[in-house]
Symmetry: D3
Subunit: 291 residues, 6 copies
């Protein structure tokens, strides 16, 4: 039997990844006890790996595919197939940034000002390439952690990942430049991608994961509306998703409308819909959605 060797990210993305897989219909168990957890698909074998190392092992075909961040793909300079972008992090659902940060009162204002400075970072390769692209020479030191507390005593600047910048602000650091914007990626080995079994396995898995992530941002609305108000109701609905309209069997003057709306718009669209005649309006949660 063919088997897909799949790497899952150990650490900050770990639990979120397992929850995502579970929602997508793949149950992973035993990860608290073993780095080789079981998955309820006999055609997949999982291994937990730090995101930092994933791309390296996929590139060398020790794994067929894996999930990791774009940042670590770049850091490893890995030559892999990028199957899908999956925008999720430990908590949030937004891209993260690697930035150059310096103390608030530092004279450093741009990449050029880094010349000759000491920079601490977990991403030495990415930082060196960034400096090279700006023709800047500086000392880049590997940081084993807590990079953001190092300036100004232990480093002049840092290159560090940030979501909202709040940890940087809390350490009195100022962002000078963005080195890289990153999201989670589903990657595959180039040879594995030529194997039809493995490619189909990866593509279906990616499709289900994307269906789950898409559904997190949407809700379903069902409402009844009189024929006279149907036009006005429909004009308020977003164009992205074609609403399902059915006539009511017991009263031809009424229609039932079902549609999908962005969660972020709900608090504005519902009062508007009611204002133009929507009745019996009900909102549902979705598990998955595929347009």
């Amino acid at each position: 039997m063919s088997v897909l060797r799949l790497g899952l990210p150990k650490g900050s993305l770990e639990n979120t990844t397992f929850e995502l897989f579970a929602k997508a219909g793949y149950k992973i168990e035993g990860a608290s006890r073993s780095y080789y957890p079981t998955i309820d698909d006999p055609e997949i074998e999982c291994v937990l790996l730090r995101a930092q190392e994933m791309a390296r092992y996929v590139e060398e075909w020790i794994l067929d595919a894996g999930l990791t961040g774009l940042d670590w793909i770049l850091e490893n300079n890995a030559d892999v197939v990028e199957v899908a972008e999956l925008i999720y992090g430990k908590v949030g659902r937004k891209p993260l940034r690697w930035v150059v940060a310096v103390p608030q009162d530092s004279p450093i204002q741009s990449a050029a000002d880094l010349q000759g400075k000491r920079i601490a970072t977990e991403a030495v390769g990415m930082t060196k390439r960034y400096l090279a692209s700006h023709n800047v020479e500086a000392t880049v030191e590997f940081s084993w952690g807590a990079t953001e507390v190092k300036p100004p005593y232990l480093a002049d600047a840092i290159v560090e990942i940030t979501e909202t910048g709040s940890s940087l602000r809390a350490n009195n650091l100022r962002i000078v430049d963005t080195v890289c914007t990153t999201t989670t990626r589903f990657i595959a080995n180039k040879e594995a991608w030529k194997d039809s079994f493995k490619r189909r396995k990866v593509e279906r898995l990616a499709m289900m994961l994307q269906g789950v992530l898409a559904a997190e941002k949407k809700v379903a609305l069902m409402l009844n509306v009189k024929k006279d108000n149907l036009e006005k109701v429909l004009s308020l609905l977003p164009a992205l998703h074609k609403p399902t309209i059915s006539s009511l069997a017991d009263d031809p003057n009424w229609f039932a409308v079902m549609t999908i709306v962005d969660k972020d718009m709900i608090r504005d669209i519902i009062p508007d819909l009611i204002a133009v005649g929507a009745e019996g309006l009900v909102e549902y949660t979705l598990n998955k959605i595929f347009f």
Copy 2:
């Protein structure tokens, strides 16, 4: 830009309020670190306040609007606009009562028997008005907490809030009278209410919160039924919400019925519906509902 200054209740209602706002589409963050949490609507500024103080600050227009209990509106004797009643507490979804309670073996049987007694309470104003309305004179002492353990040593009677009476019973107290029945209220300052921006903001927010609370008590039922049984099925459904009936495209003798039913009735109505011919009956959870 106009901004609505909104007070949220610190303490027992706090987490429930945040969850309610989140379900309504308003994400409040940072409340564990700050009394001025952020909300994802730039037109609202939040402040956390004890429910006891809310009405006072809304009345004096330091805040435009706020959520607090009817009890503390009365205790503060505050002159504010009551926008909406939101029936929710820390855990339950029922009104609470402030009661006069005395030891089981106390001779006190009615308000009149409180004459000359010592009464401990957190709601001194409300208690004094209650006594005045019964033409009773008694000593009312502010209690800093644990009021229910004070009788008989430290007080003859107490005026205290209760949901089920179980804490009173556990302290061997007997309820003599109800001073006030209270629920959460969305209140607004009288001047702020005349500002169309602020009023619209408050009304839409109240609408969404009410849609969430209403949905907590309901579920959606979908079922298929043969034309012959449709009448009997419909007769079992509650009158409140008009069911959505559509004919099935592949069999004109069958109808799909979608309706909204009180959660409390479900365990009785489902067996009845099946008994009169409902098939493929499925129950769904709702996020929000607006009739």
Copy 3:
């Protein structure tokens, strides 16, 4: 007023049972404080009992009905009405097995090899009947717990319950034979079953519990499909549940299809449906389902 006296299992099934009842529409409270918790149905009185003792008390009509495992019904050799099978455990939703287990390197390979051995078990009655049915004589000792660590020092073999066998493997034990396969059962006293009030009460409760358990394994799919692809879409759907097909009011060439699918099939069926033309495919969670 007639009242149904109902026994609920204390211990490993306890919380899962309460959650199941809550989903079924029956709220049980106070179980953390009392063995006689309250239920929000005045026609039912609950008592918490160890699953091991349940069948005995139901058989003797101290209780009208109760939930316990088939294993303990057999162990007690109890003469009761088996109303319904409810396949749920502490965590999982699968039957469990009582097995004969011995050390990996034990010479025991079958029931016959147990002759003259010392067997530790919590189910002394069931074990003795098993041995008798194989014409084997052995010492059966009641084990107060941690039975799986007793071999080889404190016992030659054990009869113990297992879900996945992992605890047995962790203790270096090998399964020799299955003594009994068990699931949770809703049982009633034989006389109580003749009382129409009590029987109706038990049957409706069992129906709701089964509706909840069935829904855990299913999801609803809604999708739109062009007339030309309808046939292909329908051919992919499982036969068990007849899909609800309605024509769209605004375009007679399109149909909306709603169907119920096993969760386990979702990850395979969704890509297939999309491949044959399903559009706007959305998945929902169900609370209860009744075919």
Copy 4:
């Protein structure tokens, strides 16, 4: 190498036993992962067992020695050597009692009234012997747990262990009689006791455990006193332990006194000592004490 096979009580006494052994100088590790924990003495092998089963395995020489309660020695009617009494429980340091308890309003007032009743208990053997000694016949049922909630519905009386009686009172039960007073015992197999290596091992271990338990109840007092007051100070000290008196090198009129006092007496004896001239009084904690 000779080895002592020692049984340690799993369950309520477990952690307290390990702490006691640690204080006595014996470090037990791995008990959270295994029933065969390691101890830092190569001449001892440990096994964790329920207290209920300990005496049986010691009597049959599967174990050389073990710790269990007197109650379970009696329940098993085991013929073992009682090496030492170790008065400690899960939390407290007092003997526990097995009692006959009945509902507050039960007519049962003495053992004789149990005639023909149903009695639930975990200690069936002990209860039957108790009844026999009173020439009473009654049904004794093994209770799997929560025995104290069974009367009056599921039993007429119970025989249950109690420390303070508070759990019985909380369940509205009244104590009728004491069946047995119990403390922890260090027991040994009769044959093992004849082996000089094993006997010495057990005796030294018991000595150290007793030294630790004795020290928990004592503190050391050191004080200085003038020659004139020495007599009065000494007269206040308990007779049990001879105080150590030394003269001060720099002032022959002063003495330093060191003595051991019961913790329970400290709050009374210190003010008295100071009143008769003790100075520089200091109290120390003891690890172990041997008189």
Copy 5:
């Protein structure tokens, strides 16, 4: 039998108080379940009360004695006997201060600048007396909590308790003046104090509590020293406590010295002692100390 009615502080001081009593030899139990916990002295009855209310109930002789802060004695303006100062807080062992605090950028620089301002505080009485003593008129509002977040929106200034000022700094507040420095006090009712039984009870309890608190700041040092170095060693020891010097029986040229030293000095005094010839230096913990 005479009984001392003793009030213990509920809330932030609660656990520390119980620990302190336990070390002093008085075991208080049941405080997690009841406001009337038991104490292992039949001549004392305890009640848990908020520190804010303690002095009031002691003054009115509802209680004989109690522990509370000086701040709340002053706030209540209570006429009670102050038996002992016990310097301990929830965590630390230092006095706390009530201060006037204002926003960093407030123009308020002294008490005089509070004229006409709005001040929020939990200690309304103390604040009003403070203002009166400075001939200042201002609005003093009772604050139900989180007082430090009120300026500048909800108050111009606050009067609040602080230990290190860190909470004030975190809220961008500046200390303008100290209203009151407070520590825990053991207080007694004036009439109760005339009762010799009650007074002796209170005095002995206070003595033991002070012995425990004093011991927390000290350690015992024991060392050996040659006759020639004795002088130098003694000159380094603090004058407060006379060391105990004894000659060694086996070598008249050596002395054993035992002394009590402040914990804070230990890290400096030990190297100094060793430098002048102290040998075999050992440090012990004390339970209680009485000079």
Copy 6:
């Protein structure tokens, strides 16, 4: 004022280090909030750093001194003053080892067999030097964590730290060789060491830390003994520490003996002492000890 800049290890040693400093008389606070915690000595400034980076920053005189493991001093090849060895780890008090480990069934039996293999490790420098010293060439990959789960799929061998080898065994790995044995070291910069203020500061701190660690392994014994038995008692005591013998003032035939004994010997020495006539034997805990 001169100040010592001191690096403390972040991570596994962190809490143990703080506890050790606290016992030594140095209170470190705020480490949960900041990497620059405060210490109650104004002449010291602390910074928390990963042990991996400590030696680098001390060598470059960014810090004056710091605590780290010998392993990371070697890995960084750092030229620093080794002031003291402090044998303590996260839990235990033993040296740790870095070992070469391979799968149980690997053909690798010695360093020579590593030729051409892939080795994963967190200590790349140390591993490369080890290989060079054996004239072996192999690929050494930096491992971001969970190194012990990498063989055989992701690496042929690992170089990893181990205390008891249990984690290696749990992953089916076999130890081939020891690369380095490591303990915690107190290190200082070479220039800082020439500054008399900084050197004195470091030496006194090291002395106190060693006094604490030494005391953890010892207890004090006090006993009384008759003149006739004194010789026998003394002969049993360890030679390391000279006992303090004093004659009793009230009976010249008795002596009081105080001595220091290794904790590990206590369970053997106490029964022996009692056997030769020691009486009133008492054991105490020590805080610090200096021979």
